[in-house]
């Protein structure tokens, strides 16, 4: 059977507010347990929530970024269930009237095509705390530092048809929220967590198949792998004539498998109702418009501008604009070179290679954008060639100083004196008389291949400092005899 996969995603994005969604406690990762809490986060009797308006502003920014309807009237609702790290016995969330309504994203896929993914809604809610099962002699410890941390839950339509498309969509959301500065995007620390809903149906069938939900997948790679694994599992069951159980599953990255967490029968009746401790949020059109006017340039706009302003290819523009830091680095370096193609190649090539090796993000690069730009400028003015530049970049990376300081200290400046190059080449030709004879006797086609030997000898003799642009014509002239 030919199966079509249907995927919908719920992405929990932790908003980077200074304080929590309903209390003045600081938000932060890694503090001592229960040190970032107030009466409200602890769910003490009589404690009341006070809504953090900064989270509201961030949610509205996101709404604009996905061309969504903004909820002028939105309502907090209580989602009731018991869990030890849910201090109040309910999570304050939004149900019938979310802050962000229907929107969409155009996602660029690897094959160059664009796919429009619908976004059903995005709503504000508070996070729960954490249960700690180690170090308590069989008991459970509760850390409520994370309780009431603001989350924006972004719910997609079931518009996604492949693992690759899902990852491209999540990357796009990641790039938007980090561009907007409303989330630090740190997936390893749980700042973005993804619930993946997957079902299969025979190609051509309209009705959806029974879906499963994989909870809390927290990296791009795991999302892709979890989806592949789950597709395979579901297809095996269906091929054997079995039925899919609607359930929540967990992805185990170590074993690369998903396993059942709880079935639909065990699902809670959350008894949502409007939270009586919080007034409905009423927004003015002015407030909504002001936020729209102050939005930073978004990745899709930036990619288009990079194509038109810098004449970059769609692919290069897309890669360079995928993160705000990358785009800023490129533009800062390019202001030194004024050669977008050269700058783009070096940012996406050598620099990215070093960053990947060191597992660093571009904003953690030990070589700043301006220092990098100055290095590229030395290629442009023929002080060094590209090959030498790679060595200089490595030295800069190692903290040996600026491009100019390293070129000076190591004597890497290219030889551009015609006389010096000519006498060096003549010496090489004299030392390799046999090869010169063979060259002169050869057909022009063969000569083209043979000249590489001489270029190599020259570069070796000059320790790479001979300007290749000058070596080639002089060599050709002298070989002619």
């Amino acid at each position: 059977m030919d199966w079509e996969v249907v995927i919908g995603l719920e992405i929990h994005t932790q908003l980077s507010t200074k304080s929590k969604l309903f209390s003045g406690a600081a938000v932060g990762f890694g503090a001592e347990p229960n040190t970032q809490t107030t009466l409200v986060d602890l769910g003490m009797p009589g404690a009341l929530p006070v809504f953090n308006k900064e989270a509201l502003r961030m949610a509205v920014m996101f709404g604009h970024a996905i061309n969504a309807e903004i909820g002028i009237h939105s309502v907090f609702a209580r989602k009731n269930y018991f869990y030890p790290d849910l201090p109040k016995g309910y999570q304050t969330s939004q149900m019938d009237h979310p802050i962000v309504g229907k929107g969409h994203l155009d996602v660029l896929l690897d094959d160059g095509t664009t796919s429009r993914i619908g976004i059903t809604r995005a709503h504000l809610e508070e996070d729960a705390g954490k249960s700690l099962h180690e170090d308590f002699q069989g008991m459970t410890g509760i850390d409520l530092n994370r309780a009431s941390t603001p989350l924006l839950e972004i719910v997609s339509e079931p518009d996604i048809r492949s693992a690759k498309e899902a990852v491209a969509y999540v990357k796009m959301i990641h790039s938007i929220v980090t561009y907007l500065g409303i989330c630090d995007g740190n997936m390893a620390e749980g700042s973005m967590r993804c619930d993946v809903n997957i079902s299969l149906r025979p190609k051509g069938q309209k009705e959806f198949g029974t879906r499963t939900e994989i909870k809390n997948v927290n990296s791009f790679r795991f999302i892709e792998k979890a989806i592949y694994t789950e597709i395979e599992r579901q297809a095996d069951i269906l091929e054997d004539g079995g039925k899919i159980t609607q359930e929540t599953r967990l992805y185990d990255a170590e074993k690369n498998e998903t396993r059942s967490m709880r079935s639909k029968e065990d699902a809670n009746d959350y008894r949502y109702f409007p939270c009586p401790d919080l007034l409905p949020i009423e927004l003015t059109q002015e407030y909504v418009d002001d936020i729209k006017a102050s939005l930073p340039e978004l990745p899709s706009h930036k990619a288009k501008r990079f194509q038109s302003e810098y004449n970059l290819s769609e692919y290069d523009a897309h890669v360079l604009s995928s993160s705000r830091e990358m785009a800023d680095f490129f533009e800062a370096a390019n202001s030194a070179t004024k050669d977008p193609k050269l700058t783009a190649n070096w940012v996406m090539g050598e620099l990215s290679k070093l960053l990947n090796q060191a597992q660093l993000e571009i904003n953690q690069s030990p070589v700043s954008a301006s220092a990098f730009g100055k290095l590229l400028a030395r290629i442009q003015d023929n002080t060094i060639n590209g090959k030498t530049a790679k060595d200089v970049l490595q030295a800069m990376w190692n903290g040996e100083g600026s491009a100019d300081a390293i070129i000076d200290a190591k004597g890497l400046k290219q030889v551009t004196d015609t006389g010096a190059i000519e006498s060096m080449i003549q010496a090489i030709l004299d030392a390799n008389a046999t090869q010169v004879e063979q060259y002169r006797a050869a057909e022009p086609d063969k000569q083209k291949k043979m000249i590489g030997f001489f270029v190599g000898q020259v570069m070796k003799a000059s320790q790479g400092k001979a300007n290749p642009g000058m070596v080639n014509p002089i060599l050709a002239k002298l070989l002619k005899g």
Binding site: L39, L42, G43, M44, P45, G46, A47, L48, P49, V50, F51, R78, N80, F82, P84, P87, K88, G89, Y90, I142, D269, R271, Y272, F273, P276, D277, L278, L279
Partner: protein, 486 residues
């Protein structure tokens, strides 16, 4: 001394006729003598009270402080008080000492009042007789066989018996007004949002409101001066500036338009209570008011609407009492579910469990529209009734309760009869308007309260109307024999 008003006592304290320490001792003595019969206090904070009294005397000596400085009062045991046991009348919070202070008690403390202790109440404010307390029923000082009303029964009994000059209460469906009526004192339920709910243990958040309970409207006004006003810690508290509740107490009532809703005088109302209310209304006519009949057609619907909305909110509000972080936890739980179920089954009394179950049911998938949403629609209708009526008249008057205080144990087996007790008070909470209970006479030797309902944020007007009535009557000055005995 125990019968005197806040104004009189404040003058005596300023004139050094008596010190706050002496006054506080006097009330602590009365509590130790009389409260064993009444059971109106859960906690008596005598040491703290004397400390506060000393501090008040120091302030008074340098002519500082407010009219509440040095006045001994009591707080309903659902206001969190820092370092002082706060039980909410429940076994669940039998061991709960809050590390924080509610806004209401904090403001009253800042005004210099002395806290004698925490008063008994129906568990989690659920009840109309104060029989639902883990700490035992409270007796009515006018007749020890009768209930004091609820849920603020401890506060009402304590004030009526002269065990405190005044007290705080809370009113979700009548819990200030009905006990005030049963015990012959004056109580005010302010407009929803007028008094902060921060630190007040929630029963039904959209209905709960704290307010003063005292011997007179003037004493209530003194407490409102301190209690009322916006609080940034309560998102539902109103930013409408608070009024000066003392300034207009003496404004004449000439031209006051009183509405009498015919639904408040129909079947179920004890004829003797009706007569007492009508005599009080006549007194207002003498003072220059005019009276007309009005209609609040959806009154009957207030009971079903209230008994859906309040339990729904309660079922969620009380989820935090799970045995995890504070309050009662069962012994040796075998797993998480066992800990939840036994801690809650042991910690909550029958009425609380009943309302949690009703609320859980009403919010359940498939029933939400039929119960919760429908109740919210009724709530809007009830509000519209009041808005319309209050566009025609200045205030609405009627009885607080259909009867006077009933015998202890007489309605505990008949929850519907108990719920019907609240027929005249519930709709005020659903609409969010302010209302008072003012002593208006006696029926069968038990006090009868007149209810005065006003427009949103018309507390000062209500206090003025009640004060003028009290300037011309002496019902509020009557004291139960028990109180005189000490």
């Amino acid at each position: 001394m125990f019968e005197q008003s806040i104004s009189t006592l404040a003058t005596k304290l300023r004139n050094k006729d008596i010190s706050s320490v002496e006054l506080t001792r006097l009330f602590l003595d009365r509590i130790s003598k009389l409260d064993p019969q009444l059971n109106s206090f859960i906690t008596i904070s005598d040491e703290l009270a004397l400390q506060q009294a000393k501090a008040a005397d120091t302030l008074l000596a340098s002519n500082k402080g407010t009219s509440l400085t040095g006045i001994p009062i009591a707080h309903k045991d659902l206001f969190c008080t820092q370092g002082v046991l706060t039980t909410c009348g429940s076994k669940m919070l039998n061991n709960f000492v809050p590390p924080y202070e509610s806004t209401v008690t904090s403001r009253i403390q800042q005004a210099g009042a002395v806290m004698l202790g925490k008063t008994n109440m129906d568990e989690f404010a659920m009840g109309s007789s104060n029989e639902n307390s883990f700490f035992g029923a409270v007796k009515n000082p006018w007749n020890l066989n009768k209930v004091p009303g609820g849920s603020s029964g401890g506060s009402a009994a304590a004030v009526a018996a002269g065990l405190a000059v005044a007290a705080t209460g809370t009113d979700t469906g009548g819990s200030i007004r009905q006990p005030a009526s049963f015990c012959g004192i004056t109580g005010l339920k302010p407009t929803y949002g007028r008094v902060s709910r921060f630190g007040m243990i929630a029963y039904a958040s959209s209905l709960d409101q704290g307010g003063p309970m005292a011997k007179s409207a003037e004493d209530c006004a003194h407490l409102m001066q301190a209690m009322a006003g916006f609080d940034e810690k309560d998102s539902t508290s109103s930013e409408t500036p608070k009024e000066d509740y003392l300034a207009n107490l003496n404004a004449p009532l000439t031209g006051l338009k009183i509405g009498l809703p015919k639904e408040y005088f129909g079947e179920g109302l004890d004829p003797k209570v009706a007569d007492t209310i009508m005599s009080a209304v006549k007194e207002f006519e003498k003072l220059g008011a005019t009276v007309k009949e009005i209609s609040l057609p959806n009154l009957q619907l207030s009971i079903p609407a209230y008994y859906v909305i309040a339990p729904s909110e309660a079922s969620s509000n009380l989820s935090r009492f799970d045995g995890v972080r504070f309050g009662h936890r069962c012994d040796d739980p075998k797993d998480l579910l066992d800990m939840y179920t036994r801690s809650r089954a042991e910690g909550f009394g029958t009425e609380v469990q009943k309302r949690i179950m009703v609320g859980t049911y009403a919010l359940s998938e498939g029933y939400y529209d039929a119960y919760y949403l429908k109740a919210q629609k009724i709530r809007r209708l009830i509000k519209e009734d009041f808005v319309k009526a209050l566009s025609e008249v200045d205030v609405i008057m009627g009885p607080v309760a259909p009867t006077t205080a009933f015998d202890i144990g007489s309605k505990t087996d008949d929850p519907v009869a108990m719920y019907l007790e609240d027929i005249y008070t519930l709709s005020v909470n659903l609409a969010g308007i302010p209302a008072m209970s003012v002593p208006a006479g006696f029926a069968d030797d038990m006090p009868v309260g007149l209810q005065i309902m006003g427009n949103y944020f018309a507390e000062a007007k209500l206090l003025n109307i009640a004060h003028q009535f009290q300037q011309n009557t002496d019902w509020h000055l009557q004291t139960p024999t028990l109180a005189k005995g000490a």
